[in-house]
């Protein structure tokens, strides 16, 4: 549906794409106080917005959830999710989906029963704001004036993107600062994990990759005060075995990456921070970025055995959040999955607009499944499919190895935001197996959980949440990965809605 307001916001986003200066401080101030009201009014007309209403911050706890179907008895463990959850605080509403304080959602699955708990992640940033009784810190797309000096990214760390369980530690991840340690029993935040002894606040991606032997690969980027890209090799017990820096002129907001058996591959979209623009009064971090397609997309390929052995390759300009998996052919050609968009409209448009109650089209940010090939010593080639795909996942045992399937979310039309379909893609044939949740439902990431006796790559379940906006409740569904279109094997219904989040992990019981 195109309303006048949608059209105007689309035009505003298009203006940003052309590198026009962001709205001046007076325009920002004028728009500032009414987002909460705009959202509330819009929610009355469009139940889909329930997903972005946010929660107040009280712990959530359910009893045993009502289950439809038969929950697999051999699927037992904890499914954790994370995402921005406290969209309004002290009467102020965040100006971008990415900006709210995070919340850990835990689904404890045992003996065919499911229970839910949710806890806000009480970061130093949140605690300072609680003590002050007001918002103090800028977000990714939100300007807050009058806050204290910021020393390093962890002052702004909302720990709101994903979770990691590694080396017997549960962590909530952001992507520009340290992991936040989470008490696995109480779900309470325990403070930052300092990854490198000599570097407080070393940035850590929200999407580390675990090799089948338990080795963890990660990177971190920091755009301020100067562009930095660090690569980490972490042992199974959480110890950093090696690290290296890559020489970069800009970081381009790389949200995800991939590993092959031999290499770490980090892909930088041409979205460049204009640091001078950040010095303007009322400047917003996101809006100080400039889309510079003439730079193309840069691909860093680093040797797992020596992360300082690096080479760069080029791809055409594009924007992307999530990757899938990567592997190498015998001649060293790297092949990888990418959720590829022609530009960053989604980031500047729909993901911001939804916070004031506008569900707007993905524009040039509509993500499509794409396969990338980078031959040794040469630039890469990208082949974009016509299939919408995001929140891609693969079976854990194929990470870095040749794989046959990718799982993810999709939508009925390329331009549609948000997603309401679950997809399994066969990479050899391009065939897709799709389950449609329905127009009143918003689907979230589904994670592949192998069966205890996994033989085939798709021998497992897909587990994930979806928000039923008619019932105003979130459900946890489990699918047989071999037959997605058959509908979920079982669904556990929460008695309340959860804020739409980003990423989950499944931690099997020992």
């Amino acid at each position: 549906m195109i309303t006048r307001r949608n059209l105007l916001s689309g035009m505003a986003a298009a203006g940003l794409m052309r590198g026009l200066p962001y709205a001046g401080p007076s325009a920002v101030a004028k728009a500032q106080d009414d987002w909460a009201r705009l959202f509330k009014d819009a929610l009355a007309d469009n139940p889909l917005l329930l997903g972005w209403q946010g929660v107040g911050g009280a712990p959530l706890e359910s009893g045993a959830l009502d289950i439809t179907g038969a929950w697999p008895k051999d699927l037992s463990g904890r499914f954790f999710r994370n995402g921005p959850a406290i969209h309004e605080r002290f009467g102020q509403r965040s100006r971008h989906w990415f900006d709210a304080d995070g919340m850990i959602q835990e689904f404890r699955i045992a003996n065919g029963q499911v229970r839910h708990r949710g806890r806000v992640i009480d970061t130093p940033k949140r605690r300072q704001e609680t003590a002050a009784g007001k918002k103090l810190f800028n977000g990714f797309g939100t300007h807050v004036s009058g806050g204290p000096a910021v020393r390093g990214p962890d002052a702004l760390n909302t720990a709101n993107i994903s979770t990691l369980h590694h080396g017997d530690e549960l962590m909530a991840l952001w992507e520009a600062g340290s992991p936040t340690l989470i008490d696995a029993d109480t779900l309470a935040a325990k403070g930052f994990k300092q990854l490198l002894p000599d570097l407080k606040g070393a940035p850590f991606t929200a999407h580390p990759k675990t090799d089948p032997d338990g080795t963890l690969w990660a990177f971190g980027y920091s755009a301020l005060p100067r562009p930095i890209l660090l690569l980490y090799h972490i042992g199974p017990r959480g110890e950093v075995k090696s690290e290296a820096a890559a020489k970069v002129d800009y970081t381009g907001l790389p949200h995800d990456f991939v590993v092959t058996a031999k290499h770490v591959v980090i892909i930088l979209p041409p979205l460049v921070l204009d640091r001078d623009a950040l010095q303007e009064p009322g400047a917003i971090f996101l809006d100080a970025h400039r889309w510079q397609p003439e730079l193309g997309t840069r691909v860093l390929i680093a040797d797992k055995n020596d992360l300082s052995k690096q080479r760069w390759a080029q791809l055409p300009p594009g924007f992307f959040f999530h990757h899938g998996n990567a592997w190498e052919e015998a001649d060293g050609t790297i092949r990888l999955d990418l959720c590829w968009s022609k530009g960053p409209d989604l980031l500047f448009g729909a993901l911001r607009n939804v916070m004031r109650g506008d569900i707007t089209p993905a524009g040039n940010g509509a993500p499509h499944y794409a396969s990338v090939m980078v031959p040794p010593g040469r630039d890469g080639v990208i082949e974009m499919s016509s299939d919408v795909m995001e929140f891609t996942k693969v079976a854990p045992n194929v990470v870095g190895q040749r794989h046959d399937h990718v799982y993810g979310l999709s939508a009925a039309a390329a331009d549609t935001f948000p997603f309401n379909r679950l997809v399994k893609r066969n990479l050899a044939s391009g065939a897709t197996d799709i389950y449609g949740f329905g127009d009143h439902i918003i689907a979230e990431e589904h994670v592949f959980v192998p069966r205890p006796d996994q033989k085939a790559e798709d021998d497992g379940w897909l587990i994930g949440t979806h928000l039923d906006t008619q019932k105003a409740a979130t459900n946890l569904a489990v699918f047989d990965a071999k037959a997605i279109s058959d509908r979920p094997i079982a669904t556990a219904a929460l008695p309340y809605p959860l804020p739409l989040g980003f990423h989950g992990i499944f931690v099997a019981d020992d």
């Binding site: 204290p148 000096a149 910021v150 000599d198 606040g201 301020l224 005060p225």
Partner: protein, 128 residues
């Protein structure tokens, strides 16, 4: 020193000094609020550090617009050391307690006027 015409005094009160390690380096600037901007710095003082509050006096500053950039040079190397991310690892402070966005604040945010006569005081809280 004789009192000059069209010159005022500046008293800078530094709060939240973490410890007595080495010295505080306090620069008075006319163009930026950047410690490392030598061209902008018109005068500066080194004052022994002590935990809590430290006061620094600048006498006879020509009337005009200034900004103060200071840091706690705890290891006494005279440099504002940064970590690999480029983030200073020493306590810092600016006039008006102005804050920058991952860098020194703009001159305009930290700027204050020294009058043609009399004394002006700046209270600056160090941030570590």
């Amino acid at each position: 020193m004789h009192k000059q015409a069209n010159a005022g005094d500046l008293t800078v009160t530094l709060e939240n000094v973490a410890n007595a390690d080495s010295a505080l380096l306090v620069g008075v600037h006319t163009k930026s609020a950047d410690f490392s901007d030598d061209a902008s710095r018109v005068t500066g003082q080194m004052q022994a550090a002590k935990a809590g509050k430290v006061t620094v006096h600048f006498k006879n500053l020509p009337a005009g617009r200034y900004a103060i950039a200071l840091f706690h040079d705890a290891n006494g190397n005279g440099k504002l050391d940064s970590n690999r991310l480029g983030i200073p690892v020493k306590g810092i402070g600016f006039s008006n307690n102005a804050t920058g966005s991952f860098g020194p604040p703009a001159f305009a945010k930290a700027a204050f006027d020294v009058p043609a006569d009399g004394t002006i005081t700046q209270s600056i809280k160090l941030v570590y």
